[in-house]
Symmetry: D3
């Protein structure tokens, strides 16, 4: 390395470390606690999948004699690993709010981790129904096990139902990371805040978007490329977006939405309606109606 190159190198390091270079959004000082770890959250999701679907994701030869040992050991690992991630999520929020002392985050995180594992039996009940819906809803499904082990829709629902439970418990950041990890894997983007009923089935999945204020009933089917999105964004008097206002669709029970349909705004798709592919819906759809493209 000749001298001129050394100078160029040192100059760039200087530029990148100059406090002024971080701009308004990438503050150097913003983060003193460790950020949540994607690798650890991936491992936590694998443990949760094993606990929920032991016949598919646990060690082979699980039986009535040893299942409680494996379930207990894995759940204990979920508890301690998730507590750490929840705490990082809490500290992240603390720091952003300018709260320098997050001493309390540790014990709050532990309590939230306990609350989460207590939600697991209900999460399993819901996922079992989602699996059933997938098997019954797809003529290509050979076998219920295939839907559990291979279907991206079931994989996404596992992540969503876990993330939604964490969201309900008041855990910041972590639910969004979990759904985005699954978004990357499946191409399905569900906001963890959305509410989704029993027996939800997404086929193929790529490109589905479900916004954060959606409310979806029971027994709903959605195909690839469907958007349940916002139509317009409320702004306050200063022109800033008003955050958190309901702005995504309500989808009632037994609705089917075919591929690439786009439904925008706080509209209601009535019970039993069928929305055809490639349609564009920005108004309420009465129960039982059938909307076709052209």
């Amino acid at each position: 390395m000749d001298l001129k190159k050394r100078d160029r190198f040192v100059h760039v390091v200087g530029q990148l470390c100059c406090p002024g270079s971080f701009g308004p959004v990438v503050s150097l000082h913003a983060r003193s606690a460790a950020m949540p770890s994607r690798d650890d959250l991936t491992a936590i999701m694998e443990l949760i999948r094993a606990v929920i679907f032991p016949g598919y994701y646990m060690e082979p030869d699980i039986n009535a004699a040893n299942i409680s040992f494996y379930t207990g050991a894995k759940l204990d690992k979920v508890l301690s690993a998730l507590k750490e991630q929840i705490k990082r999520g809490l500290c992240f929020e603390c720091v952003n709010r300018g709260n320098k002392d997050c001493t309390g985050c540790d014990s709050i995180a532990e309590e939230k981790a306990y609350s989460f594992i207590e939600a697991l039996p209900e999460i399993r009940r819901m996922l079992s129904l989602d699996v059933e819906a997938a098997f019954e809803g797809d003529p290509a499904a050979v076998d219920v096990g295939e839907t559990i082990f291979c279907y991206p829709g079931v994989r996404m629902m596992t992540s969503y139902r876990v993330a939604h439970a964490l969201y309900n418990i008041g855990v910041p950041l972590i639910p969004r990371i979990i759904t985005e990890m699954a978004h990357s894997e499946t191409g399905i983007d569900i906001h963890p805040r959305a509410r989704i009923g029993e027996r939800f089935f997404m086929d193929h999945g790529t490109g589905i978007v479900i916004g954060g204020t959606c409310v979806i009933g029971n027994n709903v089917k959605v195909y690839q490329g469907v958007t349940l999105g916002a139509k317009s964004f409320h702004k306050d008097e200063e022109g800033n977006l008003v955050k958190g206002v309901p702005r995504h669709p309500i989808v009632e029970d037994d609705v089917v939405i075919y591929s690439n349909a786009t439904i925008l705004g706080r509209v209601t798709i009535g019970k039993g309606a069928v929305i055809g592919g490639n349609t564009w819906i920005i108004e309420d759809v009465p129960a039982g109606s059938r909307i076709l493209n052209r």
Copy 2:
């Protein structure tokens, strides 16, 4: 950990291990053999890619003197690793059919693994033509090597052609896992049962769905977001889906289908037809015709 927390923990373990909690679809007893391994299948696909495209995925310095050593060693690993995965797929099916004794699975799996490697020269021939089509079909392609090494469409076709060969040999579950792994990587969802001719090119790819009973001719081009799906599902007298009926399109030679077009049902897109972007097709399209959006 105070006592109350211990009690909460033990209670949750008990709930999750209670046989009644597994529901109708997530039977504890269903699985006594190991499930197929995604990690092992990923490694197998890498070995196969190296054998098929040695200039790109094998060690550097491959030459006429050493290529047979590398090809032989990698193929021998494919043989034994794939035999194990095929066996797991067979046992999975056995168990689901209530067949408790799957002694025969071992030797059946070995024979199927041999049949598969014998299909590799033909798989390479087909993939070479797919690569050629990709290079000729994309004005942005600088070089044929770029399409082999970078294009998600070529990556997906490698997985699909391998999975389809396994499907033809009668291997259960594994073909679907292979295409779903590639679906996750590329956003392209091709059912391993679909039949696809020579020189097939998919550009960009994200969101493409090709159903299990599709029949696609030679020299066909498909762009991102295209669905070749089913229009309606046959149900039997008891209201259950009839599985396995042809319900996806037939696409004849030389057809081009532009982005986000949706073609549903057992319709035939005639030789040389051009289907415009964002179109919605649920009827036959005559050979040579040109269908535009609006």
Copy 3:
């Protein structure tokens, strides 16, 4: 293994190693240098992300005292690892052009690696503005850090802006690999040659395609499933595609393009235009106009 199986195995190895079997596109002789490594490029992107967003992707407890040590050490690793990958890209091109002697590639690669790190301060400035746009543009965004750490659009822009800088420096192959790795993660396909201005925001992202000759202004928003593609391909007199001709849209400042819109050809979307979801645009759109689906 009985003798017949051995014979079958040796026969397949022979077929796969037969020079004639490689076809016109998969030449055995094409590659004598190592191909670029996806694993190494992934590690390089992680180092770059840490250098650009130290508060999010560097070790915790980064402060004014130690940031220059970490930045310097990571940047030095980027320099040597990227030099190696650039060199492989250069050698790949050399070989393809029949240039057997690529002695010069080593020092050219080093110079290009230096030029790249000198572009990093500007890349950070641009990304800071993209992050700001993401936070301001999404009512669901709780916090600017969430958009940096979780949003696929920001992740894709990091890869694109790095790849685009490498493209501008004249590095072959590597930029495309980087954008395709991010395409696989995010479902967003941006060609590294495309030119994109400040404050670019993509929400949800899955299915977005931005072609290589696109020119996009400042302050543009694009939603999931949008295609900025080519309408037709120029062919020369022999029927071969003419490569490199401008064939993708120009999008001026302050444009918003809603989900699944398709804009094809060298058309211009005028400043401040709003393109509705599911629209199909193949002609110029005047500044300030509002195009709706039907």
Copy 4:
């Protein structure tokens, strides 16, 4: 690679694959089953250490509520992983004896694995006493935990007591691999067949050798470099070694043997004797006597 080098390479491969080149001892045909795996045995030993010393080698926060989950899960892994290794040991022996059909090895291995885990409570009892002896015998030991966690003598005894239990159950090859792995770590070479009583303490350890037919009583201390070896080897009429004859010392209770002492042959070191450092003993030593170097 020029042609001559290719020729040299192919020639060497040919030489190394020529059946005649394997010589009398390295038969190609000898091994058709997989050999035992050092990595797997290392993992098994770690699991066993965790089960035996949970406070030191298990996850932190082990308590009365979760210890049975962790113990059960780890023990179940020991069971299945050890069964596989035992089976490989059995098959290895089968093949060596010319027994081509080792169908029975699988169920024999399972039974032996069960017998082994049933020996664990007794192994823990013995090791607890060894730990106690280490703490009481070394003036440098600050704390009983330090001896468990740091002392090579305790580490070696854990491996020896596990290997000896496997030897007693009739497992071939595996016990020797386990003691040799610990030999490599600690420099202490104890044959798994040797019999060693309660409260055995080795300080420093490097260079200690304890032969296969040794019998050692309770409460014995041995320092670095001590050999308890054979003096001469019985040969049969054809001049071959007679294997398995008792040829190593008997060491009675309460004996202390200082560093680098060498005791050879089937001699008896009587109860309470003290053997000084660097001594050379080839005859019986009466109880209570004190043997010094010169």
Copy 5:
């Protein structure tokens, strides 16, 4: 797995989890904090080796322009990783002393970690002299770099000098773990409490034992198998060992001790003495004398 085996398994788990089974030394309740991590300490030692010998263990191409970046980044990692290990060592001691509240351990650990890195320049000075002594003392040494990179004696001295510095700072347990890790690698057992002067050289090394109260001068050479040990142990009135009393040799400057010599007790080996191989020394040796075996 038949029922009887399940019963056997559950029975063993029960035995191993029964509080009574832990015995007096292996208390379940003893440990609630995490134990120190050998893997992390191994990584810390690698970082330290790189900082001390940058030309050998740092990345290649270290130069005056980038060395401070690498040194700073590695040292910062040492600081945080070592702080965590020191804290675990402190908590381990706290728990053993029945001190349930170890709130203070965190800040004490941080201060000790700072003190340790401040000792590094002196540690490097001492090791440079040890390296010089090794090169000058071994006729087989081709080159000073060979002694740094290959010699077990230099490797051991690096670990010892680091461990001794930590011992001097009052860090419990960790120094012993570090020397035992090096003992396992090199066969050399030096207690971290021992005091060793400048230019210390051990050739071959296997079997060397240097006790905790040894005091060794400058310019001393020691060969394989040498013991500097204790002759007898003081017991108190109740028959327990008195710990911490000086009981190992004092070795003055310029002494050479040849292989397998044993020197026991608080004797003094006078300046410049030469102790022959295989000797047995339990009394003072006058300065300048030459002791031979027989």
Copy 6:
């Protein structure tokens, strides 16, 4: 981190990067090429072991049909990986000799790597005889395979014979690293320059030292703790050690040397002599004689 700590940290980094602090032996400028990699050499030794003892260290199911594929592929990896390590060894020597331009090292390294693999058939022949000697020489050996797979003496001889071949070819540094890696594993320290005949057997092994100018005949047995070392070192007129002079024993055919014997200087142990344990030999021993300790 408060300011004072930051200052302390930056101060230490400054001290450690100060050129003056590197001392005479740890020059910063000494190394601009990468050092040899222990991990890569470990992998190379594993490949070599597999090629030499295919029945033990290659994949299972090696047979006449596939052995040449595996042998060829592994040998090709040895060739390229070893070439790189040899080159690093050559560059290391170049730099030490002040030779700044080591352009030639690359092609010299390739030639030496070829010469090495051509030595492998002879290395295998020698190792087969060593294995035979181990089985015949140890009454505890159950089986020839056990000696190949478990015995540290055989493991050491594999490393030694490989290192010695590299030494003979004129490769610097690498042979020493290989024997030191094996020294760490086995406690046996053989200098790669030593010459050792056929059928060499070391039992137990820990503590054996064999110096660089030793010459050992055929059919020799050596036990743990034996030193074949130097008695005195020649110094030149300036008091510096004269390097490379023969100063270690010559051991003729059929000699047996029992545990902890020490033989020093250029003495000759005559054919068939038996050297007892713990003996101290500094003079020639006539052929056929029997030397006992006392």
